[in-house]
């Protein structure tokens, strides 16, 4: 239990650093910016206290915002995503699965892939619409959402398989 929390805090910090120092400086073809910090919300145990999920989601977004000088934008979207996490999980996973179960690409490939795709799409759609705020330039915004979603989803899968390959001996 304690180990799990420690692991989550390390992941939290690591993801923020990766996002702020590296990923946000990338802009592929001017349209796609990978978003990895959402991985934190994807990897919380399924039965985790909802207050914990929502508040940590909010803090995650807020810290990203503080670094990127976009007050409120990421915080709003991560909070919404965190609040919607439970319903989304219920869509793809069996309810009987135990509370400490951590979804992952090795442990539950199909549901995890679908869950990730939907969550990332929700997150980036909200984020880019809050960012551009009006639908004035709809095609460009949609293009950015699509581009960033694809690259983010691929990155999340790669990251997940990378981390769990190393931890496989202990965890799986």
């Amino acid at each position: 239990m304690k180990i799990s929390y420690l692991y989550e805090i390390i992941l939290f910090v690591l993801l923020i650093l990766l996002q702020v120092l590296l990923l946000n400086r990338l802009s592929l073809f001017g349209i796609a910016t990978p978003v990895l910090y959402l991985y934190f919300l994807l990897k919380l145990p399924m039965g985790r206290n909802l207050f914990y999920v929502i508040i940590s989601g909010f803090l995650l977004g807020l810290i990203i915002d503080v670094f990127l000088n976009t007050p409120g934008m990421n915080a709003a979207t991560t909070t919404i995503v965190a609040a919607c996490r439970k319903p989304l999980l219920n869509l793809f996973f069996e309810k009987e699965e135990y509370d400490e179960f951590v979804p992952g690409i090795y442990t539950a490939t199909g549901p995890f892939v679908r869950f990730t795709i939907l969550t990332v799409l929700l997150h980036l759609t909200l984020l880019f619409f809050i960012e551009s705020f009006t639908l004035f330039n709809l095609p460009a915004t949609l293009l950015r959402i699509a581009g960033s979603s694809v690259i983010s989803i691929l990155l999340i899968f790669a990251f997940d398989s990378f981390i769990f390959k190393r931890k496989r001996g202990e965890q799986v």
């Binding site: 909802l50 207050f51 929502i54 508040i55 909010f58 977004g61 807020l62 915002d65 000088n69 976009t70 007050p71 409120g72 934008m73 915080a75 709003a76 909070t79 919404i80 965190a82 609040a83 809050i130 705020f133 009006t134 330039n137 460009a140």
Partner: protein, 282 residues
């Protein structure tokens, strides 16, 4: 009652979520200048609509007086036109009209002269926009000459045939021009992002630069345009792409939708400057 408490207790995480989301949106509107300006314009649209409507109604009652004023003004201009016409005829007529507006000082020789030309074809729907003019090499137009309208910068001559020339306008992504704000010395560059032909983007202006909506954007060091030709006006306070420089929209002074007549700038010292700078490069 117990059911109600149970309901609230069961869904209290939603309450927390809504509070946090509301707080986030408060942050968005309180701190982000871009979002705030959108918010404020929407609000202003209501008041703007209100003013326009009331103005429409009151102006109807003033039509008679306005008409009289216009007739008077028309007569005055007619008279002035006649006087000027006589004066113009008395001068030696040259082919190219000399515009004195840009005369830097009283050094005798004009640095620039202006060749008037008409727009015969223009594309502005796509990204690779161009303008075709009805004057060409026979009228003295050469490559890389600047083109301006009555309002401001239009573009640069890209290719010339004997009787026509093609201009790459500001509203083409290939176009870049160094620019500065009226009240400062720092140079940025103007380019177009392909979205809206009324707006271009001013980039690479240092962050400490103070500017306001409506500030005039002028050309700075340019081989093509006279210094301080108007490009446009700052139309939003912008957001930065990276840490040290600002990028923001400017409203172009030239209205490409209604562009009819342009002036092609002939820099008489272009060759001289070119040769001098080339000697240094070798």
């Amino acid at each position: 009652m117990r059911n109600l408490f149970n309901f609230i207790l069961r869904n209290s995480h939603w309450l927390v979520a809504i509070l946090l989301i509301a707080f986030s949106f408060y942050l968005v509107f309180a701190h982000n200048s871009y979002q705030r300006s959108v918010y404020l314009t929407s609000a202003n649209r209501v008041t703007g609509w209100f003013y326009t409507t009331t103005n429409d109604i009151t102006s109807f009652f003033l039509l008679k007086k306005n008409n009289a004023d216009l007739l008077e003004r028309n007569a005055e201009l007619e008279e002035r036109f006649h006087t000027l016409r006589v004066f113009l005829d008395s001068l030696a007529n040259t082919d190219s009209v000399v515009v004195e507006a840009f005369a830097p000082d009283s050094v005798g020789i004009q640095h620039f002269d202006f060749i008037p030309a008409g727009v015969v074809n223009m594309s502005f729907s796509g990204v690779n926009n161009f303008i075709t003019l009805d004057k060409g090499a026979t009228h003295g137009i050469k490559r890389d000459m600047g083109v301006i309208s009555q309002q401001g910068v239009v573009g640069v001559v890209a290719s010339v045939s004997p009787n026509f020339s093609v201009v790459i306008p500001i509203i083409n992504p290939k176009f870049r021009l160094s620019a500065r704000l009226r009240n400062s010395e720092n140079n940025g560059s103007v380019s177009w992002d392909g979205n809206n032909i009324r707006r271009a983007q001013l980039q690479d202006l240092p962050k400490h630069e103070v500017f306001h909506e409506g500030d005039t954007v002028l050309t700075s060091f340019s081989r093509i345009f006279p210094k301080n030709t108007i490009i446009g006006f700052v139309s939003d306070t912008g957001k930065s792409v990276d840490d040290n420089f600002n990028t923001f929209d400017i409203q172009l002074a030239t209205d490409f939708y209604t562009l009819q007549d342009v002036l092609v700038i002939n820099d008489r010292f272009y060759d001289e400057q070119q040769t001098l700078e080339d000697t240094l490069r070798q």
